[in-house]
Symmetry: C2
Subunit: 337 residues, 2 copies
Amino acid sequence: MVWFPLTKHPLGEHEIIKLIRRYFEVMPEAVVPFGDDVSAVPVAAGEVAVLKADMLVAKTDVPSGMSLWQAARKAVVMNVSDFAAKGVAPQAVLVSLGLPCGLSRNDLVEIAKGLNSGAREYGAYVVGGDTGEASDLVISVQLFGTSRKEGLMLRSGAEPGDVLAVTGGFGKSASGLKALLSEGLFSVPPDLREGLLNAVYLPNARLQEGLALRDCDAVSASMDSSDGLAWSLHELAALSGVGFIVDTLPVAEEAARFAEANGLDVSELVLYGGEEYELVVTVKPELWGEAVAAVEKVGGNLLRIGKATKQKHIVLEVDGVKRAIEARGYEHFKSQC
Amino acid sequence: MVWFPLTKHPLGEHEIIKLIRRYFEVMPEAVVPFGDDVSAVPVAAGEVAVLKADMLVAKTDVPSGMSLWQAARKAVVMNVSDFAAKGVAPQAVLVSLGLPCGLSRNDLVEIAKGLNSGAREYGAYVVGGDTGEASDLVISVQLFGTSRKEGLMLRSGAEPGDVLAVTGGFGKSASGLKALLSEGLFSVPPDLREGLLNAVYLPNARLQEGLALRDCDAVSASMDSSDGLAWSLHELAALSGVGFIVDTLPVAEEAARFAEANGLDVSELVLYGGEEYELVVTVKPELWGEAVAAVEKVGGNLLRIGKATKQKHIVLEVDGVKRAIEARGYEHFKSQC
């Protein structure tokens, strides 16, 4: 239930993944390198199967007040977000459930309904799975879809000069989490409360935006922002071999007001909050207009926040003042770890 | 760490799955009905993507003395066994790991190596996954492969008169588990010890047998036996609308000797033990010879144990004595559930 900045842990999630990965022989025909948001395997000429697995553990991924329905739905949505970032529509969802003893029949129904909603909202179906007994509630979700190989929007591919953009404002989830986890410590303007909590309880994946961007072929690199905007920028930069200048912070209005009401640095909420499911993309400058139009056509927004640079620094530059954007974000683990 | 017969639990795994499934909208284009060993989704004309997810939770699925390498390998093998039963070669493995705090760097390496071994032994590769922190060690594995739609050997399809067969003797895992879990209570002939423990620690999936059977097109119904032989017979019978007469119990020699040394009923070990990864199949009688030859060609065995009947009873009939085979097997859950 407690979220810690990942830099504090001696062996954080990203380091564990890096360590483990070394012992996996690499599939020769793999289409997407390890470390991108999804995996992909050729199925036919030019066609790939796209696979994703991400696990929700109630103890660390479910903040207080979130219902089982919401937790189950979120477990699907956080996977769909990765598909969205690659421009792939999910078709099938598999779910492995680790169920604690105390769950009632009604709890199980809530979980089942949440899983179904998470899938159906994005056009997919739950097609199978497995249950077992565990100490924590564990909802392990797997997605399957297909894509043209060339259609996949990978993390690599950004070039200097590309437009850096996001699909929405940031900071709502971080504000909502602060409001939730430190009840009483922060002041929450009453008209903001529901919006901030919904950002945490009812996240949405930007699937329509991702599919629209794929269709207009304007994106050079893409990932979602579930580990925070700063983290996404560092990942995209590292895998593309570029840097970024961010000249416009994508501040969600609600986050600005929450920060103001509490004397917080809003850039901290925007850059280093996690569990925000926007897409972070780079767009070929000559196709910028088309990309914006494509995303707006499906009811979304594409906000320019800066550009990719040859210099490999990741910098926030506002009003002539430069500040490094650090490689940190949110990662969950138990307090006693 | 404790294994209980599934009939004792008020809401066992099978009942939970049945309950949850009711709330999932059914994918119109799904190729395999809910309740079979795998899921399948069309990807091209006549071609399907085959998907499977099964989760290993250390607390309930890992008996004492099993190493982390073995547990991780087993988590993959138990999924491969379901693919084997459908006649599908696994190509890609995804893994979501729930990791308790206490694991060392070396523990993580053991887990990674075990996952890689489990995949590579069967020609697949680990292509992606996710880690998070959990109270129990949770290894959630997903498999992907492709198949001709007609090539899939489903649980339904057995017809009266079909030959009932298995790919090996039964009872070793149940004997090994008894030896492990009740150290001192049972007498284990020294020359049996290693074989019985390996049946538990190092299970093998009958993938080559499954692929050979698919290729000779002789099988009318198939599933694996991970919940026990009796359970598999009841599942195949229910989904095919037939019954079975078993006239030859497939007793593993080691199980016979273990039973004899301990005054146990060997049929109990053979029919109601779990965690045994043989295939249970029905074969069209006119293709029986070809099926046997195909399996022997890949180094396996196909043992005739009885036949499918029009009458929907599941009966053991040896030396003219008939006995009902009950619908029970092994299911894991916590003692305090």
